[in-house]
Amino acid sequence: MFSIYAILGVSLNLVVGYTGLVSVTQAAFYGIGAYATALIAKTAGFGFFSSMLIGAIVAGLIGLLIGLVLSKFRDDYYVIVTVGFNIIAYGIFMNWHSLTRGPLGIVAVPRPKIDLFGLHLDFNNNLLFLALVLVFLALIYFLARFIAKSSFGRVLKAIREDEKAIQVFGYNAFYFKLAIFVISAGMAAVAGSFFASYLRFTSPNTFVLMESILILSMIILGGLANLKGSLLGAFILVLLPELMRFVGFPNEIAAEMRQIVYGVILVLLMIFRPSGIMGEYKL
């Protein structure tokens, strides 16, 4: 789970941290990836990796559409529109029965298999699966780092600091913001693919607004515009519920207690350290 959240955190940090656009809709792309993979792998019989690729492309395309709408807005309105998209995405997962089977979800999502050069790897084994996700986390991490360090990433930071000024220099902020949003959506979809095949199951309840808020909390805790921070933030917030169980919170209210802790962490961070643990930028 940590690796999946780390992928989500890294992908969201590109948008929120580097470009300064507070988006609360990452769980929607996460869900699109999960559903796309599950559906394509089950109905079309494609392998896991090709399904994942298609899932990422689908999420990217939807991200492009949403990004086009979002490009009209800034600050408060931007946030509220992303919140709205997350709620609509949840509504689609829930209500489009013929495609997503509504609240029942999609069951028996296949695990990935590799048949290459006489090498047979069947990822039914959880340890092997973990290794695979870690490989992808590393890939995405380095891709994100490459983006952040490249001239493209520098333009994004410039947009964050002063959008008008960078436009004066002849950069079209619109395309840059759109591009990073699409990339981030695709990355989140990869996390969704792994989630679906790890649990072998997807249901709408995973992709609610709270999930987007959780991902946002992770990167703010870890530090905006710092990819290592996102890893750290994901690590802390995934580990926290386990720790809380260890300390002996009753199980019935564990989920709620966890959310209370997330909420309190967000508030305290905003009051005392808005840049997070190792952030380079504060909102």
Binding site: V22, V24, V69, K72, F73, D75, D76, Y77, V79, I80, V81, V83, G84, I87, I88, G91, M94, N95, L209, M210, I213, L216, S217, I220, I253, A255, E256, M257, R258, Q259, I260, Y262, G263, V264, I265, L266, V267, L269, M270, I271, P274, K282, L283
Partner: protein, 288 residues
């Protein structure tokens, strides 16, 4: 059977519930430019407090409702004191305030879930049947009539209050320019605190109304707030009339869309309407 009168009536009822949220959101946003994401959940909190006194302790209905409103108002005030005021003093950016209020929203919603479970809870008494009235072939319950009347009373009181009292003038001064208001001797922090109290209280009337109308559910707060914000933006940010009109426009469009689009998609319709307004008329129907 002709369903148009019923649709009109439903829109008006839903509109007046949304109006409580929209008006109170506008009140706070207009003065502080602070996008309070916890506002809807504070409203629901008021509904739950009323539920607690009325259903669990069996107190008088009106007393419970008043207690719910006061409790929500107090909660809004406390949040302002311990979280938003320190942030404002530090001149925190709007985004920081917004993320902080998302934190408040998360924590508060989970607290409600712990104490009142995630099940639907309804405030209305099943044993005592609501009296039904029929107008042009549409039915309306007595509680719904109360909700409607309350919405108009609140709106009128608020408009008079903001226009003719010193407090109202102070609020206007703060929303024009907080710094200048401070210089001319207005205790801005006190006024804003009071505004949070009043705003959260009005929102709680909406929360209680939902409790009587359809029933309460912890996650409903965000939905109510989204509708409230949409209505506020559609009507015109910072204006009491605007929020009111926006609420009715929103619910009429959402309700009448069922002629073409199945009912589950009402959320999406309301939201698309908001986006259209944001793109083509970002300052709403009534400009300020």
């Amino acid at each position: 059977m002709n369903i148009v009168p019923q649709l009109i009536l439903n829109s008006i009822i839903a509109g007046s519930i949304i109006a409580f949220l929209a008006v109170s959101f506008n009140l706070i946003y207009g003065a502080t430019r602070f996008f309070n994401m916890a506002h809807g959940t504070v409203a629901i909190f008021g509904g739950y407090i009323a539920f607690f006194f009325f259903k669990t302790l069996g107190w008088n209905m009106y007393l419970s409702a008043i207690l719910g409103i006061l409790a929500a108002g107090l909660l809004g005030y406390i949040f302002d004191r311990i979280i938003y005021l320190p942030l404002r003093k530090r001149k925190a950016s709007g985004m920081i305030m917004l993320v902080a209020s998302i934190g408040v929203f998360t924590a508060l919603q989970s607290l409600i879930q712990i104490f009142f479970t995630s099940e639907f809870q309804t405030l209305s008494d099943i044993s005592v049947h609501d009296r039904l009235y029929t107008i042009f072939g549409a039915t309306i319950t007595q509680t719904q009539i109360y909700i409607l009347i309350m919405a108009f009373i609140v709106a009128i009181c608020l408009i008079i209050f903001l226009k003719y009292t010193i407090f109202g003038k102070a609020v206007k001064a703060i929303s024009d320019d907080e710094e200048v208001a401070k210089i001319v001797g207005i205790n801005t922090n006190k006024i804003i605190g009071l505004l949070f109290f009043i705003g959260s209280g009005i929102a709680a009337i909406g929360g209680i109304a939902v409790g009587f109308d359809t029933g309460l559910n912890p996650t409903m707060g965000m939905k109510l707030l989204l509708h409230g914000i949409s209505a506020a933006i559609i009507g015109g940010v910072g204006s009491v009339y605007g929020a009111f009109i926006g609420a009715f426009v929103l619910t009429f469009v959402a309700n009448f869309s069922i002629f073409w689009i199945p009912g589950e998609w009402q959320e999406a319709v309301a939201f698309v309407l908001l986006i259209i307004f944001l793109i083509f008329r970002p300052r709403g129907i009534i400009k300020r």
